[in-house]
């Protein structure tokens, strides 16, 4: 086993591109492209606040089930991929919530993404105790 010690990795030909041999030993993937560029886990209820995060500057609670998170280091464009999960709404009847962007009120910029928590009940937004988001894409 060999151990390489370094603080920073930079591509030689292109600073932002380093190939990594994949699990099957037959293809390579790209280190920079494969890294999640930001993630955040926050409480979405009355104890609202970021619990842990990476490259996340802030989380804002606009109203019930309506939040914006912002990035410290911006993306190069607003075409990044997002994924998220949130907890269900508790109480007597459990309703499963989903994280979406609102087509009619989208806020998707290189630094900010606004999300809404909806559920199968139909129109209306709902707070969830736990909300997690992950972002993949090209940094500026």
């Amino acid at each position: 086993m060999a151990t390489l010690k370094t603080n920073t990795l930079t591509g030689t030909s292109t600073a932002g591109s380093i190939a990594v041999t994949g699990e099957g030993n037959s293809t390579t993937t790209n280190l920079q492209q494969g890294l999640a560029k930001s993630w955040v886990y926050f409480k979405g209820n009355d104890t609202f606040g970021i619990q842990d995060s990476f490259n996340t500057a802030s989380a804002t609670d606009h109203s019930t089930g309506n939040y914006t998170t912002t990035r410290t280091n911006a993306f190069a464009n607003d075409d990044y991929a997002t994924a998220g999960i949130c907890s269900s709404t508790g109480g007597g009847n459990i309703h499963y919530n989903f994280i979406v962007e609102n087509q009619d009120d989208r806020v998707r910029t290189t630094t900010a993404l606004r999300i809404y928590l909806l559920n199968a009940l139909g129109p209306g937004t709902y707070d969830a105790i736990d909300v997690s988001l992950q972002f993949c894409g090209d940094l500026a």
Binding site: V20, G22, E23, L31, V100, E101, L118, N119, G124
Partner: protein, 136 residues
């Protein structure tokens, strides 16, 4: 501060395995290859034009809210992890893009359907997808 400049990284003992210290206590290691997303995309649900992507050759529109994402470099098996998000389906209903069934997981593509909570298939403005797993 030291900076390593290289175009490619390979493991020494196994080309496909590099560990990196990543724990908060500076002790625990994780695996670079396993931790990397192997593909991601952002596309319009209508027409499925890829706005931006990594390791995708295409997104095919098979019909309303029925899309196939094709990979450039295949996954090593069909047991990869897939996540997605979508803009809402209109009318305050949530929408999500999910595989039609397990048969639609292949090593080179994944076919899914965008459904809203009214059980209506719907083309939405923006769909995001991420693949994690083992490359071929």
């Amino acid at each position: 501060m030291s900076t390593l400049r290289t175009n490619a990284l390979e493991g020494v003992d196994a080309k496909n395995s590099i560990t990196i210290v990543a724990g908060a206590g500076n002790i625990t290691t994780t695996n670079v290859q396993e931790g990397l997303a192997k593909a991601w995309s952002n596309y319009a649900g209508s027409g499925t034009s890829l706005r931006d992507s990594f390791n995708h050759t295409s997104a095919t529109d098979n019909g309303t809210a029925d899309y196939t994402l094709t990979l450039t470099n295949n996954m090593g098996n069909v047991n990869y992890s897939y996540t997605s998000s979508s803009t809402d389906g209109g009318g305050g209903r949530s929408a999500t893009f999910s595989p039609k069934d397990f048969d639609n997981y292949t090593t080179s593509s994944m076919r899914g359907v965008n459904n809203d909570t009214g059980n209506t298939t719907e083309d939405t403005e923006c769909v995001s997808s991420t693949f994690n797993g083992d490359l071929a």
